[in-house]
């Protein structure tokens, strides 16, 4: 245990904890984004259900034989929560260490490579925590949905929520900030884990850009699609769940 503590005590160890939890979170967000696109898949003609609703049911039923209903989902949730906690706590610790290490700045400040993404990691991260909390209360529990939230009716819940331009706009802005965070974070974790080398650097930087842009476009397509009326109003469903 002493060795683990010694490792984590160093700034390099802390950053590796951030990078490892970051990898899990990026992979989750990628999967989440891909899953969201099912909203454009429309209705399953055989059952008359929205495909995205089916997908939601599938996620809850996953591994039910072994771990019970929603069992796998809960394991994933706990792992994700642990990663968010590690990522956030370590990030805040590092940020305060870094701030202490540079108490006085320059009269004239001119950055040459630090950019909007790298300089806003802390604020972006803090914002994302607030956003994630709101998002869970909005679409998972429905607590702050206020527009006729029905558990399991993903399509209609999303559709009704984004009828409000303010909410749709907020989601798009949040996704822009997520993309910024991921742009710096994705290449950063390779560098931090020591797998970035001159040979791979260009590819890693490009991949980070692709991840950021794909994330922004993929996620934003839902609120934008609904706002501009590209998705039809939900049909009344025969049997809910």
């Amino acid at each position: 245990m002493g060795l683990v503590r010694e490792f984590y005590r160093s700034t390099v160890g802390k950053k590796m904890a951030m990078a490892l939890s970051g990898i899990v979170l990026v992979l989750f967000v990628l999967g989440h984004m891909a899953g969201n696109l099912k909203i454009f898949a429309g209705v399953d003609l055989a059952t008359g259900d929205y495909k995205i609703d089916d997908y939601g049911r599938f996620l809850r039923a996953m591994g039910a034989e072994m771990l019970g209903h929603s069992g796998v989902l809960w394991i994933v949730r706990v792992v994700l929560l642990a990663c968010v906690v590690i990522h956030a706590l370590t990030g805040i610790q590092l940020a305060s260490l870094n701030r202490r290490a540079k108490p006085v700045g320059y009269e004239v400040r001119s950055y040459r490579s630090a950019n909007a993404a790298s300089l806003t990691m802390l604020y972006g991260g803090l914002f994302l925590m607030v956003f994630i909390t709101y998002h869970i209360l909005h679409f998972t529990t429905g607590t702050v949905h206020f527009r006729g939230f029905v558990e399991g009716e993903v399509y209609s819940n999303v559709y009704s929520a984004f009828q409000n331009y303010g909410i749709a706009g907020f989601y798009v802005v949040a996704m822009a900030l997520l993309a910024l965070h991921l742009y710096h974070g994705t290449w950063s974790m390779f560098q931090t884990l020591g797998v970035d080398t001159p040979r791979w650097n260009k590819g890693i930087r490009t991949a980070a850009k692709i991840v950021a842009v794909a994330m922004f476009l993929g996620f934003s397509s839902v609120p934008v699609g609904i706002s501009i009326g590209a998705l039809p109003a939900p049909i009344a469903q025969a049997g809910t769940n």
């Binding site: 290490a101 540079k102 001119s110 790298s118 080398t197 001159p198």
Partner: protein
């Protein structure tokens, strides 16, 4: 050319510092930045004022002592150039220039533009060496070193320890310096016996000296007058991780029979 300089003046480590404005005329474009400060000091002496303290030694870009930030950039605007090698032809008549000490908690100001960079020495002492027996000189060709490795090590060894990386880093991190010092030895056969201990000890000392952590802004690479690449930071991270694992798997110590 005529210039307006705002120079950071601070009596000693505890004193409150501030900018002092100086108009300086007839600066030759062939002179260096330090020579301009020399000129300023001459005029200050003539008028009975205290001179600006700044560090310098070689004035040819190899000792790394001319630490100062010029308009917010360590060693000034020119890439791969120390302040002593910076020519005034990089400026034009009427320019306003702010000259400040390197800023970092680990580099306390001693006086004016002079900072105490002895934290770097302590990082070095923690492991930036190889053990070589005194006595007969080792056979020069006993250790074959690949050309690639020798070049990579040499690029890292180009670090002059000036502290520009720390001064440029928004986090006051010394990762580029530490990475260069760790790597230039770790890449060579002579550096292998102490390799694991070196990286662990040097990183822990770096943290203890109150340098910040690296968040990959890349400012250090831009500021480094010797062009040390952040690839060495990645290499340091890799070494730190593998040395920790190695330590975990170490066979030192005893095991119980049952």
């Amino acid at each position: 050319m005529n210039l307006t300089l705002f120079v950071w003046r601070q009596k000693n480590a505890d004193a409150q510092g501030g900018f002092e404005r100086y108009e300086i005329s007839d600066v030759s474009e062939d002179s260096s930045f330090l020579e301009t400060l020399d000129m300023l000091n001459l005029r200050l002496v003539e008028s009975g004022q205290p001179t600006v303290a700044f560090e310098h030694d070689c004035r040819e870009g190899i000792c790394g002592s001319c630490s100062m930030s010029i308009n917010g950039r360590p060693h000034g605007p020119k890439k791969l150039t120390t302040a002593c090698q910076l020519h005034m032809r990089n400026y034009k008549d009427g320019d306003v220039i702010y000259v400040e000490p390197f800023r970092a908690r680990a580099f306390p100001v001693v006086k004016d533009l002079v900072v105490d960079r002895s934290a770097f020495d302590r990082i070095q002492q923690a492991g930036g060496y190889v053990s070589v027996n005194t006595g007969a000189a080792p056979e020069a060709n006993a250790n074959a070193i690949e050309k690639d490795k020798a070049d990579e090590a040499f690029d890292a060894a180009a670090c002059i320890g000036c502290g520009a990386c720390v001064a440029a880093c928004p986090n006051g991190s010394a990762m580029l310096f530490t990475a260069a010092k760790v790597t230039h030895l770790s890449l060579l056969p002579q550096g292998q016996p102490e390799r694991s201990a070196r990286v662990l000890d040097m990183v822990h000392t770096m943290d203890a000296e109150m340098f910040g952590g690296c968040t990959n802004h890349g400012e250090c690479q831009e500021a480094c007058p010797k062009g040390i690449s952040i690839k060495y930071i990645s290499q340091l991270n890799r070494d730190f991780l593998s040395s920790t694992v190695k330590k975990a798997l170490s066979l030192r110590g005893k095991m119980q029979s049952q």
